[in-house]
Amino acid sequence: MDFFTFVQLGDASVRMAIPLLLACLAGLFSERAGIFDIGLEGKMLAAAFLSAAVSFASGNVWLGLLAGIGISVLLSVIHGLASITFKGNQLISGVAINFFAAGLTVVIAQGWFAQGGRTPSLPNDARFNGLDFPGALTRFRDKMQASPGMQFYSEFVSGHSILVYLGLLTVPLSWWILYRTRFGLRLRAVGEAPEAVDTAGISVVRLRFAAVAICGILCGIAGAYLSTAVQAGFTKDMTANRGFIALAALIFAKWRPWHALGACLLFSLFFAIDIQFPRLELRVVWIMVLLIGSGVAMTAYALRKDKIDVIVLGGLSLVLALVALLAWRGEMSDEIGAIAALFETVRVPSQLIQSLPYLFVVIVLAGFVGKAIPPRAGGQPYVKER
């Protein structure tokens, strides 16, 4: 594996991290203000569709971006109406918005373009294209032969669309808004103790709507990025669960902007690895150590706790041990003895690598590696007098 492979891996990670990051920050603003939003996915999808459709019709990608932001904010306002004004269940509203977007984008795309639920592919001037920095190499062959510094500059730093750089800038900007402005302080307060904010004479409703609108704007950019920068047009379900992975990253980052950047880069690295190295192999002995080791650790933890911990974690440990033994048994044959089989390599199923972000989130949520505590008033509508 040479240096250029690493650069490519990093480049792909950044590229794939951007929509995650924007959605993650969107969720951050919303949840920091006390509004759970599992509708990030739907908002991104709606924005992806409308920005592609408007870019195609007008030939102007900036108009497309604006339209994407518009529809995403509209869905945010609906979510706000349901969860702030009518004090409904925020999770259910989010679920509804996801389905609404998933269905409606395909129905409208078919109605408008009649191409099987997709938009026509966008011509190059109706897309966000990569910006080539001065002096950067653009041809793949030149990059292969260039010096490491040049490779890094040409492949990793240069060549992304403007939305990538804007997306990265939203991290310090979010941090600054949340931690260095009065608005940010109030926004965080409204997610922790809305009654205190209310007592201070500040409108809880207005603050929460503002947060939800920011969430809509960021999701809109994320969706537009997918359909006008990463790909040339909208396809059905093109967000591919990124909204949920962003939520996962948000929890992993414990609702903090810089950590969100780290979490999104880490998660997109998983996907980049899966694409770059479709045949990841591991020695059986390492699989055994990993699975049985974590099983032993869990059981040891459970034994100090209640009966229910022993049943659940003990059972899980048994399953892990079983998987490890099966992997071992699978390598054994007449030629290869039990001991030699330990040092054979097993191909890690790509489904497992793709599931790693989800698994990660569950482990983080379990709170065994530092507890993730959500904003205290999250998920509850604010009622002035109970």
Binding site: I38, I78, L81, A82, S83, F86, K87, G88, N89, Q90, L91, I92, S93, V95, A96, I97, N98, F99, F100, A102, G103, L104, V106, V107, I108, Q110, G111, W112, A114, G117, N241, F244, L247, A248, I251, D306, I308, D309, V312, L313, G315, L316, P349, Q351, L352, Q354, S355, Y358, L359, V361, V362, L365, A366, G367, P374
Partner: protein, 365 residues
């Protein structure tokens, strides 16, 4: 004193919500250049127009009864099990393992063994989210969403590797042995000399669904456990004070929920015309369960009615998309609107109706 009579809460509010959803759906139809009235007629014909279509409607309704009950049981404990989709897939895996690898001489045995395996696998898939919710306070919604994704990964792994017959291209298991095939309602009708339900896949697991309804009704309202689940759902602190273990109730309620979702596999894996486990076997039914439970007000009778309605919508939508250029995703849009209006915007519908009743009461005094 209640502001509204009970019938208004149980019937009027859902009907108004449904009407609102229908109005918005009509606007969507107009937006894509389809006459909403024609579309409605096409869907109604597609849902119940022939006995074949009716059979499909009942088949889908069976799925939705199981997932609706699953969501409802968790709702009674104030828990939102959004992981029905994954639990259905795991239930399918359990049913497929039993049907493929255990020699079962008769369909009745296959039904019992398959249903047991499906329920156990479905319940097992919710053990970790339930445990994390109960013991570590990790939010059940996020963990079950994650488990949905992992379930689909796990299923694809099994269907494209260990359980795929050699030489087959399709990502699916082999067709189950003939002895395990469940009789379809068409077979039952033929015994009485009728050709009802034609080639539709509706099968005897619809009776299993109805039994599950009675079971859930009895459990929730006529057992000690059901009482504990409901009181835990109404007020966690009061339940704890009454000596109800939060950990146990959370675990048990979610395990029952997962088991019910898993049971759906009996219908959509063992009951179909060529019984086998295919990729994406749940087909969104786990999520439709949310809409069904919300509309059915978490009561088995309501759930059966809502499931029939969604079954008709699903089947009617499929026929509509076959007859016109409207994609089948229109069903997802309508489903989303129903969830929105009956679930999240409930207060918007309820408050004006309540006000209306209060005013009429005052006028009557």
């Amino acid at each position: 004193m209640d502001a509204m009579p009970k019938w208004a809460d149980v019937v009027l509010v859902p009907v108004v919500s449904l009407l609102l959803a229908a109005i918005i759906s009509a606007i969507v139809f107009v937006a894509v250049g389809q006459n909403p009235w024609d579309a409605l007629k096409l869907m109604a014909y597609g849902a119940v127009g022939t006995s074949d279509f009716l059979g499909y409607t009942l088949f889908y309704a069976t799925n939705f009864i199981f997932t609706g009950l699953a969501v409802a049981v968790a709702f009674h404990a104030s828990l939102f099990n959004i992981g029905g989709e994954g639990q259905v897939l795991l239930g399918g895996l359990g049913a497929a393992i039993v049907c493929l690898y255990v020699p079962l001489p008769h369909w009745s045995l296959a039904l019992i063994a398959g249903a047991t395996a499906a329920a156990i696998f479905g319940a097992l898939w919710v053990v970790i989210p339930a445990y994390l919710q109960a013991r570590r306070g990790s939010h059940i919604v996020i963990t079950t969403i994650m488990f949905n994704f992992m379930a689909s990964g796990l299923l694809i792994f099994f269907l494209s590797g260990p359980m795929k017959p050699i030489g087959e291209m399709q990502v699916a298991t082999a067709v189950f042995p003939a002895a395990t095939h469940l009789p379809s309602l068409h077979d039952v009708a033929q015994m009485f000399g009728s050709e009802m339900f034609g080639r539709s896949p509706v099968n005897i697991s619809i009776f299993l669904a109805l039994i599950a309804c009675v079971g859930v009704w009895a459990l929730i309202w006529h057992t000690r456990l059901g009482y504990e689940i409901r009181s835990f759902g109404k007020s966690e602190s009061a339940a704890k004070y009454a000596g109800i273990s939060a950990v146990n109730i959370t675990m048990v309620a979610l395990l029952i929920s997962g088991g019910l979702a898993g049971l759906m596999a009996v219908n959509n894996t063992m009951g179909i015309n060529s019984p086998q486990l295919v990729d994406n076997a749940a087909g969104g039914a786990g999520f439709i369960g949310i809409a069904v439970a919300l509309m059915g007000r978490n009561h088995p009778v309501g759930i059966v009615i809502a499931a029939l309605l969604f079954g008709a919508l699903y089947q009617g939508g499929a026929e509509l998309s076959a007859a016109t250029s409207i994609p089948v995703q229109i069903v997802v849009v309508i489903q989303a609107l129903v969830i929105m209006f009956t679930g999240a915007l409930d207060e918007m519908v309820r408050a004006p109706i309540e006000k209306l009743f209060l005013r009429s009461q005052r006028a009557g005094e």
